[in-house]
Amino acid sequence: MPFKRYVEIGRIALVNYGKEYGKLVVIVDVIDQNRALVDAPDMVRSQVNFKRLSLTDIKIDIKRVPKKKDLVKAMEAAVDVKNKWENSSWGRKLIVRKRRAALSDFDRFKLMLAKIKRAAVVRQELSKLKKSA
């Protein structure tokens, strides 16, 4: 089982600890064995320990330590990182998790009613199939 996601200039990673928790960032340079210089269009370029990053499959084409303008252009150009992320299964799971956490009490009640309805329909179909089999 060889590694598939490498730490390299242009690798998109997800910050999983700290102030920038949940942000998608681009690895812009490697400082030493433990730290990377990391940047995103909406944050100040800063160093981050690799332990705080989760690498993704997405990689963009940039030179080492690009100017902020070039970074933003590259992010837009490389088939729109944001879209790729939101369509990936990992990205979709995060979005669902966020939406579930933001449900109000009434929303949770409506969700429960919908789940019961769906289960009833499924059970009906199942019983029909059982009868015909």
């Binding site: 956490a101 009490d105 009434f106 009640f109 409506k110 009613l113």
Partner: protein, 232 residues
């Protein structure tokens, strides 16, 4: 030009606590005492106190109590009604946390002068009548019902006070009979008040899908629900 407002505060800005920017003579000049003196012929105007009306001399009392009694200190403190949380506005759905109706989801109507919240089920939906409830035992949800058509002006704390107990005649034979007849019947006008408030509310509630069954269901914590992470 707008009329000039009278000056409030000192003309001597504070550099550090206890030290002003201007000296005594500079302040004398700033306050214009020289101008007031000049207007009044070299002397600062002096107003003698008005003569007080004659008070008849008080006679010494005939009777002094044997011991000096300590009088308690005067206390002019008037408690303010509890401040309403920002999440609790008229029409909000509240979750009651304690008491007979714990877990019930209920519509908030208004805050009474004592600070308690006036709340109703509506009675037809979940059995909670017009009732007073303390804000501390309540979770305010983000769900709101339109209560602009509901008139709650006639309700205040006196409406909910208990009736004064009638004196029971203490005869032995009558005592045992009287106990059986002590059932409390809700007066008809209170039932009518409940009906009028609820009928206006029910229209607003039925216009939102699922809201009626939501108010009829009780709230409970299930497995995996963390109250500090829940958005109400």
């Amino acid at each position: 030009m707008a009329p000039k407002k009278p000056r409030t505060g000192t003309r001597n800005p504070e550099l550090i606590r206890g030290i002003g920017k201007y000296s005594r003579s500079q302040m004398y000049h700033k306050r214009g005492i020289w101008a007031i003196k000049a207007k009044n012929g070299g002397v600062f105007p002096r107003h003698d106190p008005k003569p007080k009306p004659e008070v008849p001399a008080q006679k010494s009392p005939k009777f002094y109590p044997a011991d000096d009694v300590r009088k308690p200190l005067v206390n002019k403190h008037r408690p303010k009604p509890a401040k309403l949380r920002a999440s609790v506005t008229p029409g909000t759905v509240l979750i009651l946390l304690a008491g007979r109706f714990k877990g019930k989801r209920v519509v908030f109507l208004k805050q009474l002068p004592s600070g308690l919240l006036l709340v109703t089920g509506p009675f037809k939906i979940n059995g909670v009548p017009l009732r007073r409830v303390n804000q501390a035992y309540v979770i305010g949800t983000s769900t709101k019902v339109n209560v602009s058509d509901v008139n709650v002006d006639k309700f205040d704390d006196k409406y909910f006070s208990k009736d004064a107990k009638k004196k029971k005649t203490k005869g032995e034979g009558e005592f045992f009979e009287a106990e059986k007849e002590e059932k409390k019947v809700l007066p008809q006008d209170k039932k009518d008040d409940q009906k009028t408030v609820d009928s206006a509310l029910l229209k607003a509630i039925e216009s939102v899908p699922d809201l009626k069954s939501y108010l009829g269901a009780r709230f409970s914590l299930k497995a995996g629900m963390k109250p500090h992470e829940l958005v109400f």
